[in-house]
């Protein structure tokens, strides 16, 4: 029965069938992200052999590992981008993708995110922002909306969330976009662009965790959360004309930046070339 369902899903060729069904809760946004990523890979005709997918720890870190059928490196909480940096420098011809959660990439690992963007290393980060630490049972995160209830803010959250896309754009990334799981086609297009851009690219996906977030905030049905996203999404062009007060609690969606900037691995190789040239070290097998 289960097998039959999989055979009807065209993207199943990108998944490790023996690991299915996924451990994600029914209605979790993680499935949508996996689907969008697989579609982007498919539409770009990327051979999964050319991919290395790195993840940290959390429900969202499970999206690629073990389910996506490519080389995957499942690391520690917060450090996926640091591991990925090593992978990219070591294997510059591979497409290195990080798929992980808001807690993983923007809380405990926030410094790596900012510095990878600053360095503009050619890595694609798909950050699944469900605004909570889902895996550990729904504690408040630096991405939790003001006023939301969580297990560690049982009455309401009194802190304001980090604006991830805006921060990463300011830090120097080549490409930054934010969508929600209710914007699947735009999401696929942005993942495709991110995979093609040379430089650091971030696709932030505002995603639903009905179990840990929705349940405590009067949206226990996944669809209610998607409706919440749609109702409160504001395109960047419109957001530019709104005041911070008007934007409170809104999800600003669209492309924040798409620009060319010098990329880290190329710059590194350029430097090595220069130095080798300078010292007359350029031999026959000087490829890095």
């Amino acid at each position: 029965m289960a097998k039959e369902i999989y055979s009807r899903y065209p993207m199943v060729k990108y998944l490790r069938k023996e690991a299915l069904p996924t451990a994600l809760c029914p209605g979790c946004g993680g499935g949508t992200v996996l689907n969008a990523f697989a579609n982007a890979v498919d539409q770009l005709r990327i051979d999964p052999k050319d991919l290395v997918v790195v993840s940290g720890i959390g429900c969202s870190a499970w999206i690629a590992s073990p389910y996506f059928l490519a080389d995957t490196l499942h690391t520690t909480h917060g450090r996926a981008i640091a591991f990925a940096t090593g992978v990219k420098v070591g294997l510059p011809d591979k497409k290195v993708v990080v798929i992980s959660g808001d807690g993983d990439l923007a809380s405990i690992g926030g410094n790596h995110l900012i510095h990878a963007a600053r360095r503009n290393i050619d890595i694609t980060v798909i950050l699944v922002n469900n605004m909570i630490y889902g895996m550990t049972g729904g504690q408040v995160a630096p991405t939790t909306p003001f006023g939301a209830k969580t297990t560690t803010s049982p009455y309401r959250n009194i802190e304001h969330p980090l604006q991830i896309s805006e921060t990463v754009a300011a830090a120097g990334a080549s490409y930054v976009a934010r969508w929600t799981t209710a914007h699947v086609y735009q999401l696929i297009e942005s993942i495709k662009k991110a995979l093609q851009v040379k430089g650091f690219s971030l696709v932030e996906v505002v995603s639903q965790c009905p179990v840990q977030f929705g349940r405590r905030n009067r949206m226990k049905e996944p669809a209610e959360m998607l409706r919440w996203f749609l109702k409160n999404s504001v395109p960047i062009s419109k957001a530019k004309k709104m005041s911070p007060e008007e934007l409170e609690g809104k999800f600003v969606i669209g492309e924040f930046v798409n620009r060319e900037r010098p990329e880290f691995v190329s710059e590194l190789n350029k430097l090595i070339d220069e130095v080798q040239e300078h010292f007359g070290l350029k031999g026959e097998d000087d490829g890095v």
Binding site: I57, G78, T136, Q139, S153, P154
Partner: protein
């Protein structure tokens, strides 16, 4: 009146923290400890605990915030496990070196890789050289009691060291057991106010903490941590005695069970002690002379008590949920060192078992016993034995 109720060890730890009235708690969620900060955040939000609860963004920040608060002169508490404790590693040395009596509750869990959320002791054992005191609980009541005891010992002027209290992931953290919650007034009497003379924030009397120690002073600073660990041995006995007087529950650094006339004594820690006590009952019924000793205190290492224990047995069989590679378990190293210069000493056989949450069954213990008996009979035996390995998948 103390309240008798049922709760998980995580809740017991949160209750202990509430009773100890820390002024600052900084914590970050991690399986299997998460319920501790969750419960504390409820106590704080409901006004039942007058403390600052800081929801930091990592364990490194959690322990750093505790160091800051403790250096400013207040009682502090946090909880973590596994990768979280490992991430705190750098700051653990600083807390001990700055002589800050912070208490951490640890839900003992295995370390990556591979990723594993279940029980063993590798997390706390790996921190044994940081200078922190280490207590291990056998059950949920002990988890609560030992946290109160840890505060009292840590804050004693002869000690002034941070302390961690370990209790096994899931086996205790998530299991409901009967627990007696002591009276707040009695706890207040037992713990008193924390009034540090060495670490405080007072602009009228400015001090510098954690500054550079040149080669001319660094060793002495380290030596004071050594000395404080030595002092803690006596202080722990005193505090155990006072605890018994006030609360009626007896603790010993090394607790013995049916060791009278025992030829083989199993030595272990944490909840495994409960399993092994039952196993020993079962063997005693068959007429075998076996007993158990449980280490409630692992740092400072109870050398004197271990030497006394060694006099009673022909074989010490160490059952441990940790590895120090190419050596054996950490207890094997500690026991060997404690006994090496004695003229007469028992054989020591080391058993590594139950890693990453693998259940320890009577069958596993039978396997260990058989090897211990070879040692007893003067036959050849392996010093370090991995018990319950699935050889078919190796």
């Amino acid at each position: 009146m103390p309240i008798r109720t049922v709760m998980k060890a995580n809740e017991a730890a949160a209750w202990a923290a509430k009773l100890a009235k820390p002024k600052v708690i900084a914590a970050f969620p991690i399986t299997p400890s998460t319920l501790v900060p969750e419960k504390i955040s409820e106590f704080v939000a409901d006004g039942e605990l007058d403390a600052e609860f800081i929801k930091v963004e990592s364990e490194h920040s959690a322990i750093s915030a505790c160091v800051g608060a403790s250096a400013a002169g207040v009682r502090t508490f946090t909880a973590t496990a596994s990768q979280g404790l490992a991430l705190m590693h750098e700051i653990l040395f600083i807390a001990a070196g700055m002589r800050l009596p912070i208490v951490i509750a640890v839900g003992n869990r295995a370390l990556s890789a591979p990723i594993n959320i279940w029980n063993d002791w590798q997390d706390t054992i790996s921190e044994r050289d940081t200078g922190w005191l280490q207590f291990y609980a056998e059950n949920n009541q002990e988890a609560l009691d030992l946290i109160l005891i840890a505060f009292k010992v840590a804050e004693d002027e002869r000690v002034l060291l941070p302390a961690m209290v370990g209790f096994d992931a899931f086996i205790l953290t998530h299991t409901v057991e009967p627990v007696e919650i002591p009276d707040q007034e009695v706890v207040d009497e037992f713990l008193g106010e924390y009034e540090p003379k060495h670490a405080y924030l007072d602009p009228a009397r400015p001090i510098t903490q954690g500054a550079l120690g040149f080669p001319a002073h660094y060793m002495e600073a380290r030596y004071t941590v050594w000395e404080a660990n030595e002092n803690a041995k006596k202080v722990i006995d005193e505090v155990f005695a006072e605890f018994e007087k006030k609360f009626g529950r007896k603790y010993q650094k090394v607790e013995e069970y049916r060791t009278e006339d025992a030829e083989v004594i199993f030595v272990t820690m944490g909840s495994l002690a409960g399993t092994v006590k039952e196993y020993v009952d079962h063997l005693r019924e068959q007429g075998l002379k076996v007993g158990v000793a449980k280490l409630t205190v692992y740092r400072p290492f109870p050398t004197e008590e271990v030497r006394e224990l060694a006099k009673k047995a022909k074989v010490l069989a160490l059952l441990e949920k940790n590895v120090t590679f190419s050596v054996g378990g950490a207890l094997f190293q500690d026991f060997s060192r404690a006994l090496v210069n004695l003229d007469e000493r028992p054989k020591i056989v080391d058993f590594i078992l139950g890693l990453g949450g693998r259940d320890v069954t009577f069958k596993d213990l039978d396997e260990a016993l058989a090897i211990a008996q070879r040692a007893l009979n003067g036959e050849e035996f392996d010093e370090v034995n991995w018990i319950g390995l699935r050889k078919e998948i190796l």
